[in-house]
Symmetry: C2
Subunit: 157 residues, 2 copies
Amino acid sequence: MSNPAAEPLQPLNPDEEALVRALGQVMHVLPRAIDTDMVGDHQLPLTEYTALMNLSEVPGRRMRMNELASACHLSLSGMTRTIIRLETQGLVRRERCEEDARGWNAVLTDSGFARLTESWPSHLAAVRRRFLQHFEGFDLDQLARAFQRAGTAETTD
Amino acid sequence: MSNPAAEPLQPLNPDEEALVRALGQVMHVLPRAIDTDMVGDHQLPLTEYTALMNLSEVPGRRMRMNELASACHLSLSGMTRTIIRLETQGLVRRERCEEDARGWNAVLTDSGFARLTESWPSHLAAVRRRFLQHFEGFDLDQLARAFQRAGTAETTD
DNA sequence: AACCAGTGATTGCTCGGTCAAGCAAATGAA
DNA sequence: TTCATTTGCTTGACCGAGCAATCACTGGTT
């Protein structure tokens, strides 16, 4: 069970309730809104943008599927399909991994890099306007650490 | 374009970057983790739980599809399909709306209420343990308001 | 050398989102 | 009244993404 200790459960108080609902709303709305911006501005869905971006930030502009998937917060199978889409657009190429022939590297092409160069300002603007803007005056570092804790806690407790 | 004013875009500073990445992680991990808890404990997926919960909180334990969809952060067609699943399990029943015969009400059945009664502790525990726990000491009200702003901003700017 | 457990990646199935079409009831104008 | 338009919901098509099963290769054991 999820609550093995079975300490008496307090119902959420109004602030907790409000926060949980608001987070639910944000999780539903934000990715779609940013994706819509990206598609509208550059025909580049957020998932694909994220993959290109992560590739661009790494030496050799290449990554194993595994690493890339977790950098993009995507399942490995989702990553496979995203890379296939990017490959058919010529934005990424796949190479067998030299030190382990089971593995593949996704490699950012020049064309992919160019695509990223033209689209990052939209992404940055969207993130600022739709999200960060609403947190002015917050202690972002403290907040980031709390989210990191929530995002990395064990699956089974 | 998403950035019509075109003010010079500052790249994200490290704190902003960390927050955005951590939020991405949470959006990816949290709903799945809670869903896994709910399915593991009660064979009741999070989406279905959320529908039952929202119905239970309202007088008459009935809601129009529209309202319910937005309360659950689900699209209308997603809601239709969820209610169909709940109906085949006998947890919800559908009735034509009296004051507007185009509309339908989803009505929580006794069986649905019983199902909810036995499963809410798991949900509450999961929300506390996986999310709220990491925000002890925060001003939850202030945080909730910021998320509400981010979650309700216009789609087109 | 031959096997086998473990790991990296891909494929099949389902859920949920969007979009477009359809239908029934309501609303408003002629 | 009648008829066109709008509204509430359902349905189908298609797509993206997650999970579970599977395939492909590795590396250790015998």
